[in-house]
Amino acid sequence: MGIKKSIKVALVGNPNTGKTSLFNQLTGLNQKVGNYPGITVEKKTGVLKLNEQITAEIVDLPGTYSINPTTLDEDIVLKTLVNENHEDFPDVIVVVADVENIKRNLLIFSQIKDLNIPTILVLNMSDQMRKKGITIDIEALKTELKTEIILISARKGLGIDKVKKAILNYKDLSVSSLANIKDKIDTAFFKELKESFPGNPLYKSWLLITQAENLQFISGKERKLVNSFRKDIEKINRYQHKETILRYKTINEILKKTYKLDRTQGTDLRSKLDKILTHKIWGYVIFALILFVIFQSVFDWASVPMDFIDESFASLSSWTKTVMPPGMFTDLLSEGIIPGIGGIVIFIPQIAILFLFVAILEETGYMSRVVFLMDKIMRRYGMSGKSVVPLISGTACAIPAIMAARNISGWKERLITILVTPFTTCSARLPVYAIIIALIIPQQRVLGIFSLQGLTLLSLYTLGFVSALVAGYVLHKVLKVKSRSLFVIEMPDYKLPSIKNTAITVLEKTKAFVFGAGKIILAISIILWFLASNGSSDFNNAEEIVKKETKNSDLSREEFNQQLATYKLENSYIGMMGKAIEPVIKPLGYDWKIGIALVSSFAAREVFVGTLATIYSVGDDDENNTTIKQRMAAEINPKTGGKLFNFPVGMSLLVFYAFAMQCMSTLAIVKKETNSWKWPLFQLISMGILAYIAAFATYSYLS
């Protein structure tokens, strides 16, 4: 029995080369998605068993064209590969390249090779070579590139075993450099650099200099040394550009000897589809149709599982109550934890369906065309064409949407996208909208076909998008953030989406939501439960006080319980909070009970409905006969004697929920993504003020 050993492997390559397909082939479902510490870039790792003793720990690094990063994702590649102390620093790197774009793919290979880490070059889509008229002299290329080269087809699963074998034998690989940056750019400068960092590969030292701002691990003496080389930044930038040109020169010379392309065909499908999909009219029509289909499906398909989840958790709650001995713990479980988890699970269907579509659109290559179509329009609002994905995703949930914004390379465009995404109508607003609309908008038809309630909902969605754009426009004008446009996108070939890749993406995004937002929603649900089931001394002595107060009136047991529950709620901590904010929310038309619901909405907006249900159901044993809606409709405003949820109050609430930033999980994710409390606080306050003013104006105007 030998000692068990693990080889660390890093997968590197351009986007759209099938790197993730190879990762999936190597690790199967034996993979784990986490986050890099401090940021929300997904970290995909997997384990591959090479033989009885040796396993490979594979990390799928984000796709990148170069080791010089332009986005947060790409930053990870740099940080992992230039720092020997990084937990994922590899023993061997597998560079995945696509045979058709080999020249461009070899750029990152040449950079990696110069780090003097054992490197395997994998040429993917080799099954397409003949069709595309490509011939490669593999043996000659191996010699020129000083490495092992393996032809694979990740989609068809060809050549995977050879990759495994090469990983196992990584110690046989050459670690010599490829491009000679020293002599061809500035001999004296690079000689000094080499001598200043003895023991480092020269290219690594060069990266320390060029990327010093991105590499926080450089410290103390080393940082000083690095800075001494960075005095003339203009020169550094110029050398970086020269380096790239030099690398391409080397690559071109190598490919001239080893690679032949007979380009007689190939771009037919692309140009035909591009003509329609990016057409100045049809392009937008098709995009609008696709959006329509997506939203239709998100709401239609998701409603069945959502209702099922809703009912299951409700019955689980009451079942828990009946089978467990009454007490604090049972209450915590049945009124805090179970509804809390239910509040997370209920969003899974919508989020999964939405991300299924987004993943398909990205896999097929269509999303890049949308970015191309929308870029100019979105720029007017301070964003980029790439902001479309976050804004669409925001209709499911702002959390994965804001995470999707990290692909945007300009900081200002990315920041604005993050800041305005919470305006889009997320699925947590939907139940709130649904119940209020049902209360205040009559069930009638306009022009005989459109339902008035449906139109109201549609206008709330429109309001969300329009506010996001207007806010973007304002921020664009106001924000003084220095940021250069770094917009370059690749327009990939059109292809059919791979089911496996799509499924894995959907699974990951959903997991990111469940574990990202889930923890916070659950925690707040428990806190809210605690606040609602504890209170002042009046709360603790509620039974006696109510008994005393109702001594003279002839109450049935049920009526007494109801009075007791109402009294308890009023004197619980959450009731006290509701009452405390009542003077502030009164101008909007709300009473303290709505105040409680507003406070609880910070867990997640949909908690509003649940809280109102609790408020109006406490002590009500006759639950089956009256729905929340009926109970809310019956609620009387003690001052006016009229209905509490009348038209002005309802509209005011709708407007408030459209604008207010009421989601703790989103605030947490914004903090993570922008790396400061400044921006989430800015969102919370400015959106709060906006919501307040808008709701106040609505209420005053209507009443």
Binding site: Y65, S66, N68, T70, E100, N101, K103, R104, L107, E234, N237, R238, Q240, H241, T244, I245, Y248, R270, S271, D274, T278, K280, G283, Y284, S368, V371, F372, L373, D375, K376, I377, G385, S409, R484, S485, L486, F487, V488, I489, E490, M491, P492
Partner: protein, 75 residues
Amino acid sequence: MKTTIANLKVGEKGVIEDIALENIPLTLLEMGCLPGIDVELLQIAPLNDPYYIRVNGSYLAIRKETAQQITISKL
């Protein structure tokens, strides 16, 4: 006046002569958009921006402001 990618018409080709290195994203060079390389303008988005080009076997979309930084001679 210099001819840049922004002066091409859809379907026209040119050879890159000079790139205002300080004004363009390094990414673009890294994708292989370099002096001496052929470039073809495939399409311009509605509203005249961005530009969809083929260069060095890559299909890229770049903004007009970037396209204006790349001097070419028409083929």
